[in-house]
Each structure stands twice: as structure tokens, then as C-alpha cells.
């Protein structure tokens, strides 16, 4: 059994509402997976459950065959939007260095290797020049990269990125995609949630399609079928000229309205 991450019958409830309903999934080492689904499908909840930030109503989660509740060290997580106080007096370098804290390292003297890993992480995301800048002085895209660099500095086996392509500039989007390519060599298992089906299909090996429950998982060809998209996106989906276009309410009510995502087709 070479599965790095295994979810068995995982259910998460917010009050009486099931955010995740009996999701079972196994992820092999080194895979890069896009988690897609309409808003409220439980993408963020899935990641929070993996990080132990929400408790499971049912089911269990294993990392390297061990219960995640007692062994989560190799998992790093970058939330959709960091809820931190941007006026806090920390520099980029301070934040990235936090990636070197953690179990057994809270009281340890900082080693040369810690500094080196933090430096490399900043270079990888092209923010080394900003190392001594307070984080409040950065642009939104730069701030996002700081937290990606911190996750990288954790040297994770599993990296969870929640909507890293939403609301960022083109260069940050490219930086994230570049990072994902380079992580293939390590290899680091990556789960990325996105509502960009085209990107998911083009850049990821595997797709997990959610809508509260697991609709389908596998290669893009296996997952992005009319039947599956119908189940996930319901009446918001249309089929044109053999090309599947799923229309979902994108971007969480920030005024973007509906977007069309084209799949498996050229105009």
C-alpha cells in the first residue's frame, strides 16, 4: 500500500448541514490533484478537515497509514485568504521562518539549515528581495507568495492550496504554476482547490470532483464527463457542440456573476 493520504468515509457537519458527506479518497505519493466543484461543495472544508481545523462527524483520515490526528507534521496548508493582521510587525523573512517551527522545534536553536531553507523558499517564489519588508507593505499577490513560501519552508510531503489562483495577479498565478511543476521533482503531493475547470484539466494529473459528496475522482478524461458535471453543477451546465461548458456561480458573491468554463474543447 503506497497511499500517502487516505480518507475513509469522512463526513463534516456545520450544525445540521453536511458540508462533506462520506467522502472516501486515496491519494498516492507525488500526485498533483485539482479539487473542483461548485461553491459550497466542501472544497475548503476538505482541506480544513485534513488539517484538523474542523472535526469529523464520521470517518477517519490516514497519513502514511497513521491517523492524521496524531501525525500531521508533513502536511502544509495555505488557506484561501490569510486571516492575519497585516499591520503586525513581522517581515517577509519572519513569516517564512515560521515554516521552520513545529513539533520539537519550538525551543530548538535555529540552525544554519533552517535559514538556508527559508532563503531558498523565498527565492523559489521570487520574494527574496522583499525579505526585510514588513508584510503590510506588500501587494496582495506578494502576500500570497509569502504564505506559499512559508508552506514550502515546512518541507511538506503534502501541500494543500485553497484557491491559490483566485484574486491574484498573473505573475503570482504563474509563480504558483511554476512552483507546482518544480514540486513534481521532489516529489511533493499537492492538492489544489480551484473553480477553473480548464486549468484543472490542463495542469493536473487527477481531478477530485466534489459537491458535498464525492462525485468522481480520477484522470481529467474520466472525471469531466457530462454525467459527472451534471451531478456536480446541476442545471447550471450546458453542452454545446460536443464541448462541455459548466456554468457555476463563481467567486463567492464578490460581484463577478456567472462565468463559463470551457472544457475539452476549442472554440
Amino acid at each position: 500500500m503506497n497511499d500517502l493520504l487516505e480518507l475513509r468515509d469522512v463526513s463534516v457537519f456545520y450544525g445540521e448541514r453536511a458540508a462533506l458527506d462520506s467522502v472516501s479518497l486515496s491519494v498516492s505519493h507525488g500526485a498533483q490533484i485539482a479539487v473542483v466543484g461548485p461553491n459550497g461543495a466542501g472544497k475548503s472544508t476538505l482541506f480544513k478537515a485534513m488539517m484538523g481545523l474542523v472535526s469529523l462527524r464520521r470517518g477517519e483520515m490516514l497519513i502514511h497509514g497513521r491517523p492524521a490526528s496524531e501525525y500531521r507534521d508533513p502536511v502544509a496548508y495555505v488557506p484561501q485568504r490569510e486571516e492575519v493582521d497585516w499591520r503586525f510587525p513581522v517581515t517577509v523573512s519572519d513569516v517564512v521562518s515560521m515554516g521552520r517551527y513545529g513539533r520539537g522545534r519550538w525551543f530548538r536553536r535555529r540552525r544554519a539549515s533552517d535559514l538556508e531553507i527559508a532563503r531558498q523558499s523565498m527565492e523559489r517564489l521570487d520574494i527574496a528581495a522583499l525579505a526585510e519588508r514588513p508584510i503590510g507593505e506588500l501587494s496582495g499577490g506578494q502576500q500570497q507568495r509569502v504564505f506559499l513560501a512559508r508552506a514550502l519552508a515546512q518541507e511538506p510531503h503534502v501541500l494543500l492550496l485553497d484557491e491559490p489562483f483566485t484574486g491574484v495577479d498573473i505573475s503570482t498565478k504563474e509563480a504558483v504554476l511554476g512552483l507546482l511543476s518544480s514540486l513534481r521533482e521532489r516529489p511533493v503531493t499537492v492538492l489544489v482547490s480551484t473553480h477553473d475547470l480548464e486549468l484543472a484539466s490542463a495542469r493536473f494529473d487527477e481531478i477530485v470532483l466534489l459537491n458535498g459528496r464525492l462525485i468522481s475522482s480520477g484522470s481529467p478524461e474520466e472525471v469531466f464527463t457530462e454525467e459527472h458535471l451534471q451531478a456536480a453543477f446541476g442545471g447550471q451546465m450546458v453542452v454545446v457542440n460536443g464541448k462541455v461548458i459548466a456554468v457555476d456561480q463563481c467567486c463567492g458573491g464578490d460581484g463577478h456573476g456567472t462565468h463559463g468554463h470551457m472544457q475539452n474543447g476549442t472554440p
Binding site: 502544509a76 490569510e82 493582521d85 503586525f88 513545529g102 501587494s139 502576500q143
Partner: protein, 284 residues
Amino acid sequence: MGWLTEPFVFGFMQRALVASVIVGVVCAVIGCYIVLRSMAFLGDALAHAILPGVAVAYLVGANLLAGALAAGVIVAVGISFVTKAGTIREDTAIGIFFAAALALGVVLISTTGGYAVDLTHVLFGNVLGVSATDLWISGGLALVVLLAIVLLYRQLLVVSFDPVFGRTLGLRTHALRTGLFLMLAATIVVSLRTVGVALVAAMLVTPPAAAYLLTRRLPAMMAVSALIGVVSAVGGLYLSYYLDVASGGAVVLVATAIFVLAFLFAPRKGVLWRLRRPRRVRAS
């Protein structure tokens, strides 16, 4: 230079100086977390909440600081416990404990009669009345608090800046928070004699707020804050000696003056600096 040393020929003034410096440092350092986490209300509430402890200690003839510490610990743990239940918001929990403890303190004190002078000292401090025992208790508590802040620096930094990240690293954020409450309670007890419960909130908030305007990183903020705390404490003591005014109030006013200067003239963050150059447009 005789005027500098003149006050300190008296033993009580020497003790006042040591007590003021201790308060200046420990309030200013832990106050950085109070300011950064917007916990100023908690500081003020905890300060008032130790009143019943002082009253009980007075009634039974125990050391006032010991009574204050006991009350502070009970209230700190109580607020933390009620908040953890999750049904009541933290500021509400603080308000409830604060009012209840203050009321209890007033009721207890009213039973003693003829207590007005001592009560004034508790509320506004009486640094000239610091005994050698008080000094040992204060010094010991201050040392414990400062040591804890240094040892737990990384944990407190992470839970203050990014609690969600702290949880993903397995930090027990609630325990750390309770720990911070307890350190705060101890700090307030240390300050009881010098500035009193009514003014300790100023010593917790004003020097760190000034230091925040002058620095860019937390360790520097703590160091500058401690310096401002000491300058305020010593400066206030001189003012109090030569102008014959209440020492606690003088200390707080010096700190406030330093804050106003920083607010106006601080590089980058000061009001005048910002007027000079238009605000950078953020590309977020």
C-alpha cells in the same frame, strides 16, 4: 547634577525607583501582545478585577499583592474557561467577570470602613509606600513573566500573528492564550503599588503603541517599548518628587507624551511623515 541624585538619598525613593523600573519593563514588554492582539480591554478589566483579592487580603491581614495575584489568576482562568465554551464572545465574558469582580471588591471594601486611603493607593498607586517585601514579590513575578515571554517567544508570535497556522503546527492555542492571561494578571499585580489598577492599562498599552510606530519587527518593538516604559517610570518619579504630584499619574503622563511625539514624528508611520508623502497605492 545634584538634582538627579538628590531624591534617592531616601530609602523609600530607592525602592520606588526599582519598583518603577520593574513595572516600566514588564508592562511594556507584555503590553506588545496586548496591543497587537487588541486586548486592551482585557488588560483594564483584569486590573479592576483584582480588587476583591486586595480587599480580602486586607480584611484577613494578608499581603495585598498575594491577594491580588490570587484574584487575578482566578479571573484570568475564569474568562478563558467561559470563552472556551464558545457560547459567549470573549469581550462579553471579560465584561461580565470585570463587573462582577469590581462589584465584589467594592462590597467587600465597604464592609471595612475607614479604608478610603488604602483604596486610593490601590486605585492610583503609592510608589513611595513600596516595602522591601513588595519589591521581592514584584521582582520575582516580573522575572517569571519576562522569562516566559522569552521562552515562549515563537509560540506567542505564531498564535498572535496567525492562530490558524499555529493550530496546523499542533500548537495548543487555547492553553497559550490562558498562559498569556496569567502573565497579564501577574504583570498587573506587579504594577499595583506603582501606578495602581486604574492606570495600569495605560502602562500596558501606551509604551507598546509608541514603540509600534517606531519599529518594524516584534523584538525591536519589545525593546523600544521597554525603554519607553523605563524612561516614563523614572521620568514620572522625578516629576512626582519635584512637582509634588501623584507618582502614578505622572508616570502615565510621561508615557503619553512620548506616544504623542511618536504619533506625530515617527519615521514612516508618523502623521507628519505621512502628510509629506502620499500614501502608497496598494495593488491588492
